[in-house]
């Protein structure tokens, strides 16, 4: 069992104990009226039995047959009004004005709506009893405690949001059952008002999800007293398959420019544009089966991602995915080579292999940083980026043996060899 359960259980138990103490303790202390008196000498005055919460409640009594009670000083009988309400039981002492004695209920009892039983106790014996009803003061300032949630739901038919409202009068009494609460809602410019009857102290309404996205604005009011505006967003549902497109400046495999990949407007199965920020992954498979991957998030349904051109001639097949949910068709991209050959020279004096200048597709140097790799016996010795089309491999700095060596230079998908005698 979790701590939460223990806490809940302990709260329940302690509440019960507190209630028990509240309801029993005063009776023990105050000597509960032991029973009905045989001689019904005194009785409560008939009169109003229905009050509005907050009204002053005064209950009179008299000796049977006699209109008024002599003031306390002239009578040896003790009088007490035992009030049983939802707050518990409270004894009330009588008050006397010029010629009558009566009981004045304390204000907190007058403000609590519900059925209240009053018992007249004379000399510790109950002599009369009656029920009075206190009704909530519904025309007063009503407090609406409302909750609407969850803050977002998903478009479709399964999800829903729910409004629950608990209106109370100025004394925090629940409003009577069947009182009609006005619930207003606005969704996509359409406003509707519903009258929902109160039951057991609250009213509620379910707002089923819709197939279109938007925001539900709702509000609950009673007798013109309203609650604040609340909202819940209908988010788009799961996206469906889509198409992709690519944009590039040229088709050359220069390893420098970027391909811009975009999706079509991503929509869910109801045609709503999916939420901004949804991650779309583009997966690219090259001719050799190498994988490239880039990703972008959607804005207005369109996701755009970028990736470098390959530095060797290649054919890509591109596919985009929203992982496990939707995917695109496949797109083919062809990249053509930018040069036919790579010039290589060895300069014995400086002990240098100079690669280049490598000339690109329109006679310019290849872009700076084009990777040129030097291999010896199929082992990568050094990889350097070009500068102004040229790469300089200084063999003296590599600590290689002084003998005849055959180097391979690989770049831009081309492999050239050179024999070097140092």
């Amino acid at each position: 069992m979790s701590i939460g359960t223990y806490t809940a259980a302990s709260i329940v138990i302690s509440t019960c104990m507190a209630l028990a103490i509240l309801s029993f303790a005063p009776e023990e202390d105050l000597k509960v009226p032991s029973g009905f008196s045989d001689e019904r000498r005194y009785e409560l005055l008939p009169g109003k039995v229905e009050f509005l919460a907050g009204d002053s409640i005064r209950i009179g009594f008299h000796e049977t047959g006699i209109e008024s009670i002599p003031s306390k000083g002239k009578n040896t009988d003790t009088f007490l009004l035992w009030v049983k309400s939802s707050y518990g039981s409270v004894p009330v002492e009588p008050q006397t004005d010029s010629n009558n004695s009566y009981f004045q209920l304390p204000s907190f009892l007058c403000e609590t709506a519900g059925e209240t039983e009053v018992l007249l106790v004379v000399n510790n014996k109950i002599t009369d009893r009656k029920m009075i009803r206190i009704l909530p003061k519904e025309d007063s300032a009503i407090t609406m405690e409302s909750y609407f949630g969850p803050p977002s739901i998903q478009a479709g038919t399964a999800d829903f949001a729910m409004l629950v409202t608990l209106p109370t009068d100025m004394y925090d009494n629940m409003v009577s059952d069947s009182t009609m609460v006005n619930i207003g809602s606005t969704f996509r410019r359409e406003t509707s008002i519903f009258n929902i009857p109160m039951k057991n102290g609250y009213a509620w309404k379910v707002f089923p999800s819709t197939t279109t996205t938007g925001t539900y604005f709702v509000n609950a009011s009673l007798y013109g007293f309203g609650a604040r505006e609340m909202e819940s967003e209908v988010h788009p549902s799961k996206p469906v398959d889509f198409t992709i497109s690519a944009k590039r400046e040229h088709d050359y495999a220069d390893g420098n420019r970027l391909v811009r990949l975009s999706t079509s407007v991503l929509r869910d199965n109801y045609g709503n544009v999916i939420s901004d920020g949804t991650l779309v992954t583009f997966e690219i498979e090259s001719e050799q089966g190498n994988i490239s991957k880039t990703s972008g998030t959607t804005i207005n349904g369109v996701s755009t991602a970028q990736i470098l051109h390959p530095d060797h001639p290649d054919t890509w097949s591109v596919r985009a995915r929203i992982s496990g949910i939707a995917e695109s068709d496949s797109l083919k991209l062809v990249f053509t080579k930018i040069t036919e050959s790579i010039p290589i020279n060895y300069y014995k004096l400086e002990d240098n292999i100079v690669v280049g200048p490598i000339i690109s597709y329109m006679g310019q140097w290849v872009s700076d940083g084009t990777e040129i790799s030097l291999f010896l016996n199929d082992n990568l010795i050094l990889r350097k980026g070009s500068k102004e089309g040229i790469v300089n491999f200084s063999l003296s700095k590599l600590g290689l043996p002084s003998e005849k060596l055959t180097f391979e230079v690989r770049a831009l998908g081309i492999t050239e060899t050179i024999e070097v005698e140092r």
């Binding site: 609340m230 901004d276 997966e283 994988i291 880039t294 990703s295 496990g324 940083g369």
Partner: protein, 1055 residues
Amino acid sequence: MPLIDRCTIHRITYLWYRRITAYRKSNFVKIRSNKYLVVAIILALLFHGTSMFFTMEQTYDALIHVFFGSHYAEHWFDTWNESWYTGFTVLGYPPLVHQAIALLSFIGGLKFGMFTLVIIGTLLFVTGVYRYALLITANRTVAGYAALISVFSSSFVETLHLFGQLPSIIGISVLMHALPEIYLWLKTGRIWHLITSLSLLAVTVTSHHVTPIFGMVFFIFPLIGMVLMDNSFEKAGTWKQVTLKIFVGRFRNHFKRILVFGIGALVLIVVCILPYWINTKNNPITQVPIPHGSRDNFLEITSSGLVFFLIPWGVLLIVLPYIFYRYFSKRYLFFGLSFSLLLLLGTGGTTPLPKMILGDNAFNILTLDRFTLWASIMALPIFGEFLYRFAEGDLKQYLQKKYSPVYHRLSGAILAAVFLFMTGFTMSLGYFRPSQPEQINMQPLVNFLNQDQHYKWRYLPLGFGDQMAWLSAQTKASTIDGNYHSARRLPELTSRAVERLENSKFRGVEGLGSLQQFLAVPEKYHLKYIFSNDKFYDPLLYFSGWHRLQRLENGIVVWEKEGVSPLPSRVARDDIPVYQALMWGTIPLFTVFIVLLLNLRSLWQRTLKTRQAVAPSYMSFKLALESYPKKLLPFSRFWTYALSVLIIFGCIQFYLTNSDQISPENAVEAYYDALDFKAFEKSYSLLNPNSDKSLDQFMLEISVSDGLLSSYSKLDAITTNLASEQGDRAVVSTKLSWVTPLKKFEQHIDHSLQRIEGKWYLDPLEYETDIPADQLFTTSQTTYSNHGRRRISSEQTYHEDVLKQPLVSVLNAKLVALNDTYHIVGELQNMDNIPADISIKATLYSRNNKILASFNARDLMKHKLLPKERTAFRVDFEEYLWDEDTSPLPVTFDPSQFTNARIADAPATFELQIEANVATKDLRDYIAVSDLVISQDSIEGILYNTGSKDATITQLLISHLDEKGKTSWVEQRYISESIRSHRKQRFSLDIHPVQTTLVSSDMNNVFVNGHPNTQVWDIWLSDREFASDQNSNTKKDRGASKYMLKLNYFVANAL
């Protein structure tokens, strides 16, 4: 009333007058104010009273005492403090100094209290040394000399201005004041002296507990010995005639007084801080020993030798022969023994002797620098005597006669120069080699914690140094860290030799290990905010799932963790009986009151000479100081020369090993050393001047390089190997190991070097020439913001302000075993339309549903997920407690070190609790992978940053997939260099299939936001197509192992 005869009164008065004047004539000496002492006090006030404002706040301990002071200022009688260590008792430290700070803070604030106490401590120290020296030498001039040099004594300066050990200083000073009184009690047997000595001892006890206990051994025992010697001398007539027999007889004679004093002292030590002893017994210190420089081998770790031996001894080292000579004379014999023992204990781990004497336990708990402090204080009277003889006594005459006045003056000048240099050096050590970060303005932090109820969570400062105590003193928010480690209770801390989490990077494995645990499971400690003053920790925080909130105006970055519940309003505490709390709150200041009451009169009389005082009996043991021991002189000279030679030799040795360009290896090492300390101009000067690299170009290249290695690492070790050398050219194969907060990096670089004019220079490394496609480019991104509270209100958040927890689905998860360790691996996806911040808590259950272990996923997952984003995860079960066996600690730190949880039973099932909250920060996915080639044992490819921010540190999460496309293992790698915007970064990783054993793939106990995962599954994922997910990153027919790559990266300048 009958009148008394006037004559009678006159007679009595007259008789008294006669008696008193007769007494005075015989015993009273005309005493003038000791001008040396007066000068010493003035100098002390000037020197320490002004310099303290620049040093005290940078010391190790002063702010801790201020923090304790703030505790007493707020709750005088409460001994429980909730600010540190999830609550601790302040009974662990005698409270007098702290309570005094608290009391003074009511006048002018906490720091006023501290500074006032520094002044009081200094005064007590100088006068204490005077009284102690007077007691030892019985010579007022010598005592004056001792008081003068005590002002500038390097050990005192170090203890006060570098260590900030206020209570320790006040303790020893008051003890020195007590010594003459103890002497007088033992010698004369006057009860008054017993009372005053015990009252002073009580103050010592309540200000520092270690001082009186060891003070008994090292100061009072020799003092008793001296009293007995003096008595024996009086009995025998000459020192030569003092024999053991007489001595034993005197001992018997004085035994009663010694016993009375001993018992009194013992009672005081026990009673005055009784709650301390009870607490020590009830909560024994469980802390694993924390390494301390004073326990090092000073010859091996020279920095410790400097701080804990050379500095405190300073110029005293030169006069060591004289000190020994004097202290091993008959009268001081016991002081000599005590002094030798203190000297030996102060050498720490240089020899095994201190450990043998103290025993393992005490050796590992005590900081041994205090022995050196006491020894140097004990030597002060004799040093004073030496100076007196040297400056105006017999030694001066002897030297001037034997050599020449010039010789005397010159040696005097050297001595004075060394003495003053040591003082100045000690004082400014904290300036030249700062042990503390720059002073932090705490106000923004205090304000942050007060705002928006942030104090309802715990915070953790990182990189604050000892200033963290000052922050704690100002805020009511609490931290899990603290700065008084013997008071810790959390096993995560006590089981590790970590001084503070705050500076855990200096404690290597254990430090970072401890910190990682707190970062991984912050909800357990209600830890929500981290104040980072050291960017070293930033990657660790980021990959543990924390995010940056804001940079405060003092430059501190606030990090936050989502989904941590606030502290309950009642936190567990240890209460103590009322009588103890009352004792603790009242006795310390009461002892001071008593001392003032008893001594005020004599203090008044002594200082202002209102009444001529009786010369105390120790004053009759004045030594003539007329003939300096001739035999000692050659020895002293030899000693001085030997010492000088040793120092010069050390300097030469230092120069030779650090000379940069003598060999190719030295040049490479010097280059990296300079780089490590960001001395770029120095490293540039080691580059080949014939290369065409200008300093501008070099600095530019440095400035654009970033990443784990260049910004978050410390060079740990460098090994150089001469690979080839041909004439003036050489290739040095260099192995570098770097420590970073995330992992250890090994780097292998072959450097080619050239010798030019006998000096070796490195050829500069090639830098990338890559030029990105576009000069100016745009990126568009969806960003998120959460208002928190929409209405500015201090009330609890309204329910309509609370966001829905994002819907997350665990796609697959299983419990696997790998070589006796258990791991939960799997994959999850954010199914919602809003980004999610995810934390995963995993629990292992045995077959009988007993909980075996529980831990959170830390860095083996991506915590912040965009809508529909997936991440693999792995939960490792880390042991909260460090291995109990005291295996030798690794010397350097290895962030990947990990202690597996000891799992008692075989796990059968597991539970996953996924908690998702709305994430608004660190949501980026701009790194593209190009040309990914996966072979059987390696993954190669190019990473390209398509975004507009540099990816400082990139993490590759590699999932191993089984044949059904489900996760069978997850591992991670970090890319050491940053990937700048629109730049590429090549990577190549070794990877091997991992053979794990499946324990359970039962996903019935997987919960998302408290709901069963299956429920989420049924509603939202019934038509999910898994076929399309497989092979997503691998070539279809390459081997059985398939891998999936997930990128997560840290952007350093995101704020």
